[in-house]
Symmetry: C2
Subunit: 364 residues, 2 copies
Amino acid sequence: MSAIQQYTVYLADRSYEIHIESGCLKNIGDACSKLFGQASRCLIISNDVVAPLYLEVLQSSLEASGWQVSQHIMPDGEQYKTIQTWSAILDTLMNRKLSRNEPIIALGGGVVGDIAGFAAACYRRGIPFVQVPTTLLAQVDSSVGGKTAVSHPLGKNMIGAFYQPKLVWIDPDVLQTLAPNQLRAGLAEVIKYGAIWDESFFNYVEQYAEQLHALDAEVVSKVIIASCKYKAEIVMQDETEQGARALLNLGHTFGHAIESMTHYTSYLHGEAVAIGMRMAARLSEQLRYAPSGTEARMVKALEALELPVDVPRFSAEQWLNVMGHDKKNVGSLIRYILLHDIGDAFIAEDVTDKDIHTLIASFA
Amino acid sequence: MSAIQQYTVYLADRSYEIHIESGCLKNIGDACSKLFGQASRCLIISNDVVAPLYLEVLQSSLEASGWQVSQHIMPDGEQYKTIQTWSAILDTLMNRKLSRNEPIIALGGGVVGDIAGFAAACYRRGIPFVQVPTTLLAQVDSSVGGKTAVSHPLGKNMIGAFYQPKLVWIDPDVLQTLAPNQLRAGLAEVIKYGAIWDESFFNYVEQYAEQLHALDAEVVSKVIIASCKYKAEIVMQDETEQGARALLNLGHTFGHAIESMTHYTSYLHGEAVAIGMRMAARLSEQLRYAPSGTEARMVKALEALELPVDVPRFSAEQWLNVMGHDKKNVGSLIRYILLHDIGDAFIAEDVTDKDIHTLIASFA
C-alpha cells in the first residue's frame, strides 16, 4: 500500500491538496518548490518530541530542493497551546524577517498544527503554511480545514482564525513512532465521522480495530483517506462553521468540558471526545431522538478501540458553567450535536439545562 | 450639511455599509439592532481619552435600543498597540462570555479600531465588529477596509488579520474635540488619495486647507465622503493587498521606518506618512519616473496642510534595515510606491539599495 492518494479541498482561491503517501516526508522539498516558486526561505515549527524523530528528514528534503530552512521548536503538550507560545513563534518570524510569500511548515500533531497555523494567519496578516501532521488525530482531522487556534485559561481553542493551509502532506509511516494512547485518541475522531454520516464506516472501523491498533498499513491508509474526504467535504460545504460543519463537534461540547474540568492532564483530546460521544448518544436517547441501544452501540465500538467511556464525576452546574464558555454557542443557548441514529447526527438547539441535569444524574 | 451619506463596500458575504452623518453617534443603537437582531450583548472598546468624551452617548443609545453593554477601556497611544493590550481585551471577552454573534464596537482612533478589530477577528475565530472612528485618520482611512493589527517591537502592524467590520459609523461632529495635530495627521491620508489617483482632489484639499483646519462642516464632510469612496473602491478591487491596494502605502514604507526609528514618540502616523510621501516624490524624480517639480508640488501641499516635510537624519543602512522588516515586501525585495505624477502612483519593484543610498544622501 504505497499508492499515492491526492484529494483537493476546493475553496476558491484558498483551495489546496491533501497528499497521502507512505514515505512522502522525504519528498516534501519538491512539493514546496512547486507551490512556492518565488520563495527561498521557510520556517519549520515543531515540538521537542517530534523534532528529534522527523525534523532531519524534512529539513534535508527541503534543503536538497534549495530551501533555506529555519526552525522553531516548542515544548510538547496541550498546556503550551497558549498566546505566549504563539507570541514566541512571532518573535522568531520577526527576527528571521520572513516575507509574505515564505511559508511556515508545521511538523507535529494537532497542537503544533493549530498554533503554527494561527501564527501563519497573523504574521504580516497571513503567510502560507503547510501541514505535515504526525499524529493520527492530526492526519484525520485537525490538519484539514483551516481551524487554527490557541487556548485561553477559560476555554480551549477560543482564540484563533479560519485560515487554510496551502498543502497537507500526510505520511502514514510516521504513525509507527506514535504512542498507543495517541493512536487510540486519533481513532476517536475517525469513528466520529462514521457516527455522524456513515454507519457502514462506523462498523468498518469497529470491525478492524485490531488491525488499526497493529498499524496495518492498508487499513490505516484506508481510514486516513476516508476521514480526510469526510472532513474536506464538510469544510467545502461550510468553511467557517455557519451551519453543517458544527456536526464535526459531535462529542466535543462534553469533551471540551471534560478536558477543561480536568485541567488537560487526565485525558487526551480524542479520549475526552470518546466520552463526549457516549454522553451525546445517551442524551439522544434520553430526548427520544435516537432509538434505545444507540448508546450501547457507541460504547461497544469505543471499547473495541480501547477508548475510555466512563464519565468523570462533576456536578451538572460545573458541566453547564464550563460548556457555557464553549465557542460553538450562539446567544445564551448551548448547542449540542446529537444523533438520530449511528450515522445520522444533527444540531440540537433545544436542549435545556434541565435535560443536562437529568443526563448528569443518570451517570451518578 | 447634515445629509446622510451611505456607501456600501461590496465584498460578497463580508459586505458592509459606511454611514456618514453629523450627530449620528446618538443613533447607533438602532443601527446595531437592525444588523445584529439575534444578539443582546455587546462590548465597547475605547481608550482613556475618547471614553470620557463619547462613551456615554454611545452607551445610552445602545441601551435605549435594548443592548446590554460592557466596556473595555485601554490606555491611549500607539505604544499600547501590542499583543499584551490585545490579550487583555480577549480576557474581557472570555470573562463576559460573549457569544459568536455578539458584536464588539470600537470607539476611537486607528489604534483602538485596529486592535479591537484584531480581537474581534480572533475571539472564537471571529465575531462581528463595528467601527466608530473618532479621529480624522480613522474616519478617512483605517476604519474602512478590514486591516486589523497590533505592532511588534520589531515592526509596526506586523501581527494582524484582514477582517472586515460589519458597519462603519462616522460622525464628523466628534472631530470638534480632536487635537489640531491629530487633525493634520488625518489630512496626510486625505491628500494621499489625491496623490495616488486624483490630481483634482489633491488640488482641492490643498486649496481648502484653511477650511479643513477650521473644521468647516461642508468641506470636512466632503473630504471624508470622498476619502471613504477611494478607500472602499480599492478594497473592493483587492481586499487582501495582492496587488493594487498596495498603492495606499504611498509614503508608508518610509513613514513606518520613521515611526520605528524614532520609537513612535516624535511623529504621529500621518506626520510620518507626510514625510514619507515627500521622500517617495523625490525618489520618483530621482529615478526619472516623475517630472521634475513633483516633489515641490507635494511639499507645497503638505505645508499648506501644516504637515512636516523635513526628513529625520538616519544612515541609509538604518533606513534599509528597518524597511526590510516592512510587511509589504515580497521575497528580499523592498517594494516602494512611487509616482509617475501627482495623481498617478504605481508599485515599483526595481528600486535598489543603491537608489536608497542616493536618496538619503540627497537629504543630508
